[in-house]
């Protein structure tokens, strides 16, 4: 799943460490999410969206197509 966590984090002027501290996770978790190596849990995704004050679907982009099912 594509995500724009890095974009929104940098827009706030935060480092990975700063975002990790605010969310109560490790820097490795933020790094893994930003590099698309790890999809966060729903609670963490919701907290990220709340922190950046953006809807979840602007943070995490799912390219699944309803018509084709792919």
């Amino acid at each position: 799943m594509e995500n724009r966590v890095k974009h929104w984090r940098e827009a706030q002027g935060w480092s990975q460490g700063e975002l990790a501290r605010r969310l109560g996770v490790s820097r490795q978790t933020i790094n893994a999410v930003e590099t698309d190596k790890y999809d966060p849990s729903l609670p963490l995704a919701l907290r990220m969206a709340k922190l950046f004050a953006v809807p979840v679907d602007r943070l995490f982009i799912d390219h699944w197509d309803l018509e084709s099912g792919k």
Binding site: R21, T29, Y38
Partner: protein, 213 residues
Amino acid sequence: MNSAAQKSKTGSMLVRLLAGAIFGVAAAIAFLTGAKHLFDFHDPVEMFAMGVGLSYALIGLMVGVGVVSPSAGSRYLNVENREELVEDRAKLGNSAIACVLIGVFLILLAAATEGPAGNLLMLLLLLGCAVGVIAFSMAARKHNDELTRQLGLEAAALTLWFSVLLFGGWAALNLLGYATVWVSPLGFVAGIALVQLAAIFIACGRRGLLLRR
């Protein structure tokens, strides 16, 4: 990051990995050569267990030194900077001690001699290691976040599947008469530990945690 910087980073990572591998192999050969004379091994499985134990102990020591001295640790551990080691001190410190204790457990088991008195002392030492591994692992677990928990689950699943494949396959072949030598209890314990170590690296690699940051 531009492609030149990426290439430089990848090259630097490869050099570090290569240097680490050469150092690790050299240290293991030197230790096992010395240990062979010191412990008078009767069975290659004892050396195998000693090698696996040494790998755990070395990994634990390297992380432990990095936690005690974050400035030094940030140079060879895959972290962004020394502050990251300071932030994760509780988790990494407890994990490092547990890792060293697993190594010591295997080394002691490989060096165990036959005889009731020796075995009782060894039993107490091994019990101490096992209790320590559980205690420090539980302490580290308190500081795990969701990625670490996910990695733990994936590594545990991989360990189970590899173990079933390896030891189950071996058992089937033994039953059919193709593998005449059955794995010894020491070989089984060391084999599981090696499979677990490999599974942890695979789980971390799949999440990109082995790439130099």
